[in-house]
Symmetry: C2
Subunit: 222 residues, 2 copies
DNA sequence: TTTCATTTTTAGGCTTGCCTAAAAAACTGT
DNA sequence: ACAGTTTTTTAGGCAAGCCTAAAAATGAAA
């Protein structure tokens, strides 16, 4: 088992995040932006990681994770999300406070710790933001989720995830009394600006901007 | 709140441990031994920490923690021991496996995390090895403990701590079915070599060497 | 007190991970 | 295709934290 520095782990995670949606290579600049560092530092580190066989690097062409690099990155995501569940479920943190702490906890090295934590939490499949948690083999459950913005009037749905996890957004949702598991029904859609009026089941009616609707994952229930 | 590197924190803890029993200054060599590093590296770091006002350093005379240094060191001990409780009580680790993991967890920076963890664990006063856990103000409960080796025949006592926490010792205790909370009675003391025959309440009779008896803290119950 | 062993410090050097500035390569539009 | 822009790499440097070897300070014993 190779042991990586925290910096190396953070770069792996950044490459992972950048490449997981579109399957193009991650560019030096994109990585630099995500890590808030200079492109020169990124080039340095990419060479190191390529030397360790964790990613495939070709000058001026960006990088892709190797199989081993992907495994390590997936395991980091697993650890991060498990710790987030712990912080929210067991220590009662609000979902907008857990990211930074999980960012530190994910670097703790102990496979047995992860395994026992997973068991203690009852092998959760999703983290507090609705993101799927990879299992010990790196497999993760698929969310059958769609964007709230794609629903039509009268559709009923349950909130299962957020696209964006910034503090401001999460805190705004709290203020609206929207959290994972909240059931809702669409009342009306305003084509003019894409905003929607929805009613929280057992609660009040609220109007959400298009921007908000585009950042909420739901599952239809009717 | 000053933020220290993990290396700086580890040095603080080492000085703390060395100076907590005898109130003499910690010597460069003693610190080097505890940190498994060279005396030269220690000198480097002591200058850094003295520069930050965390300890008092005089060439060739060793160091003592400053008030602030002591506070930081105590808080590290608090975090370490709280995480050990978590690992043993919640994740069901055995007491000889938790030190290295707690050593990593103690460096996670978040006062709120420590506070919530403490509450979640029900504000424990002692860690799985019987060592006292400082509270948020740095105060810790006194153990009314004595060494098993100081007991006389017929004395009854309960095991409340260990002097030494090496893996080999803890595993040996497990094999003897000795754990914190185990009640026992002294049967006989052999002055010749200091070994003792004791009986575990509700269990078998065992003989412990002087070395073992010198490393077990007990509280008399009769 | 003087010598000798031990402890501590200094000096110089290494890697990691970061920086800026400048050079080189790759894209873009005409 | 080539000029200009953007991206990426190279070069050189810095701080942290470690190392070894050598010098200096301390202290113990004769």
């Amino acid at each position: 088992m190779e042991v990586l520095t925290q910096a190396e782990e953070n770069y792996l995670k950044a490459v992972f995040k950048i490449t997981e949606n579109d399957d193009k290579a991650a560019s030096t600049n994109a990585i630099a932006a995500m890590m808030s560092t200079s492109a020169a530092s990124v080039t340095d580190m990419l060479k190191r990681l390529a030397g360790k066989g964790l990613l495939h690097y070709e000058k001026h062409r960006g990088v892709v994770l190797s199989e081993r690099g992907g495994e390590l990155a997936t395991n980091l995501v697993r650890k991060h999300r498990l710790w987030e569940v712990f912080l929210v479920k067991m220590l009662d943190f609000s979902w907008d406070k857990v990211h930074d702490i999980a960012e530190q906890l994910e670097h703790v090295q102990s496979d047995e710790l992860v395994e026992r934590l997973d068991g203690f939490l009852d092998r959760p499949q999703f983290d507090p933001h609705g993101d799927p948690i990879p299992d010990a083999n790196g497999k993760m459950a698929m969310r059958k989720q769609i964007l709230l913005s794609s629903l039509d009037p009268k559709d009923q749905a349950v909130l299962v995830g957020v696209q964006e996890s910034t503090n401001t957004f999460l805190q705004y949702l709290d203020k609206l009394k929207l959290s994972l598991g909240t059931k809702l029904q669409v009342v009306e859609r305003f084509e003019y600006d894409g905003s929607m009026k929805i009613v929280l089941i057992g609660g009040e009616e609220i109007t959400l901007s298009h921007k908000v609707c585009e950042n909420l994952f739901v599952q239809k229930t009717k």
